[in-house]
């Protein structure tokens, strides 16, 4: 009897069966609400490019914009935004399999990082980007570009300059969004356009700009970016993820305008 009990006990799974999660929750009463407000996870550019690869074969060479003026700008705000756009351009260059452009971007990342005081943090990434581009290891280049964004953020947090890291993310998001609209418009499909459905991310970026120190928030370029994001916000939809062809064009036009502003000479 005792033996049978022991055998039965031995056969009982060691890990108790998982507690069933609720099928529905009230998202207006989430736990850790404060964390939810501040900690929206900004996706990696790779996540978007990976989907684009699956839904079609875009001609990335048409989207790629060669990086010409690689100098840091006078203002750190503009340089941070520019760094973001250059990293995003790096992803497009990878999709285009343009090794020379990727290498140029790798070096530009270093120059611009120097302009905002985080050169040390990205030097390893910059070298790796150039090295993997030489080997045409595109997946590795993607990982290094993703990592560069993370390294900039970490370095900025250490310098207590996290707001500049937000500007880098914003610059990247704007150039990525501009490129995405170009690709989606070539062969419009609701699934492709749905990639632009990012309302919470837009709210997050707007909140982060509003929470920036006064001097940064009042920077003329940052003000223009905020205004542009507010224009994009209603176009990316709220609960409905369907985005019309006309909205895709409008989003693209606004993003293009903002990217041009970021690339312009410093505003005096």
């Amino acid at each position: 009897m005792k033996k049978a009990f022991l055998i039965a006990l031995a056969l009982t799974p060691v890990v108790a069966s998982a507690q069933e999660p609720p099928q529905k929750i009230d998202i207006t009463k989430l736990p850790g609400q404060a964390a939810v407000i501040d900690n929206v996870v900004v996706p990696l550019p790779s996540e978007i490019f990976q989907v684009l690869d699956k839904i079609g074969k875009p001609v990335w060479q048409d989207v790629l914009r060669s990086v010409k003026d690689t100098r840091a700008r006078d203002g750190r705000e503009q340089t941070a935004l520019l760094l973001g756009t250059v990293i995003a351009e790096g992803f497009i260059a990878v999709e285009s399999e343009d090794a020379e452009e990727v290498k140029k971007i790798g070096r530009t990342v270093l120059t611009l990082a120097n302009g905002i005081g985080v050169q040390k943090a990205v030097i390893r990434r910059s070298n790796a980007i150039v090295e993997f581009a030489d080997k045409r290891s595109w997946q590795q280049v993607r990982l290094q570009l993703d990592g560069a964004l993370g390294d900039v953020k970490t370095a900025m947090v250490e310098l207590e300059d996290e707001s500049y890291a937000q500007l880098v993310s914003l610059g990247g998001w704007l150039r990525g969004t501009e490129a995405l609209t170009q690709v989606v418009r070539k062969t419009y499909s609701p699934d492709g356009a749905g990639l632009l459905h990012q309302p919470v991310l837009l709210q997050y970026f707007l909140r982060r700009i509003d929470g920036m120190p006064g001097r940064m928030k009042d920077n003329p370029l940052v003000k223009k970016i905020r205004q542009g994001l507010a224009e994009i916000q209603p176009l990316v939809g709220t609960s409905d993820s369907t985005i019309s062809e006309a909205s895709v064009k409008n989003i693209g036009d606004i993003a293009e305008r903002l990217v041009q502003e970021i690339n312009a000479k410093p505003i005096q």
């Binding site: 529905k24 009230d26 939810v36 990976q50 989907v51 839904i55 919470v200």
Partner: protein
């Protein structure tokens, strides 16, 4: 001289004690992450790209935390949670923007939990992490994710 040596040894012992007592506290989030990454390992072999960033903190038992995440239709995601606390039971679940459970798989193991989602639409999703059981007052946790 004898007094100085005694005092030196006392100071040394105090420093060693302080270092030993503080090390687990410092190490614990990294330890939690190492369990999360251990959980990720088989999926990396399946082609998932693991993001280098991670999220973490500590929670009391029966308390959860929400993380808002932008996910894209067309990708597949795994979220891996880890804790360094032995005998703790942790969980991670994924809800869509309307609050519906959206994961296609989830599991719990000692030190680890995970959930998988193939988003039906692009948009915001809510990750709910929870410490269901733990011998500790507060349990350190860490969350990583991967996509393909």
């Amino acid at each position: 001289m004898r007094y100085t040596v005694k005092r030196f040894l006392c100071s040394l012992l105090t420093i060693i004690a302080l270092v030993l007592s503080s090390t687990p506290v410092l190490a614990t989030i990294d330890d939690a992450l190492s369990f999360a990454l251990e959980a990720a390992d088989p999926y990396v072999k399946e082609g998932f790209t693991v993001r280098e960033d991670y999220w973490g903190g500590d929670l009391p038992v029966k308390q959860s935390k929400a993380i808002v995440h932008q996910l894209f239709k067309g990708n597949e995601y795994w979220f891996w949670m880890g804790t360094d606390t032995a005998n703790a039971k942790i969980s991670v679940h994924i809800y869509d923007s309307e609050g519906n459970l959206a994961e296609v798989a989830a599991w719990q193991k000692p030190h680890k939990a995970a959930a998988r989602i193939v988003p039906k639409k692009t948009g915001s999703y809510y990750l709910i992490v929870e410490v269901e059981k733990s011998p500790e007052e507060r349990t350190h946790w860490s969350l990583a994710y991967g996509f393909k």
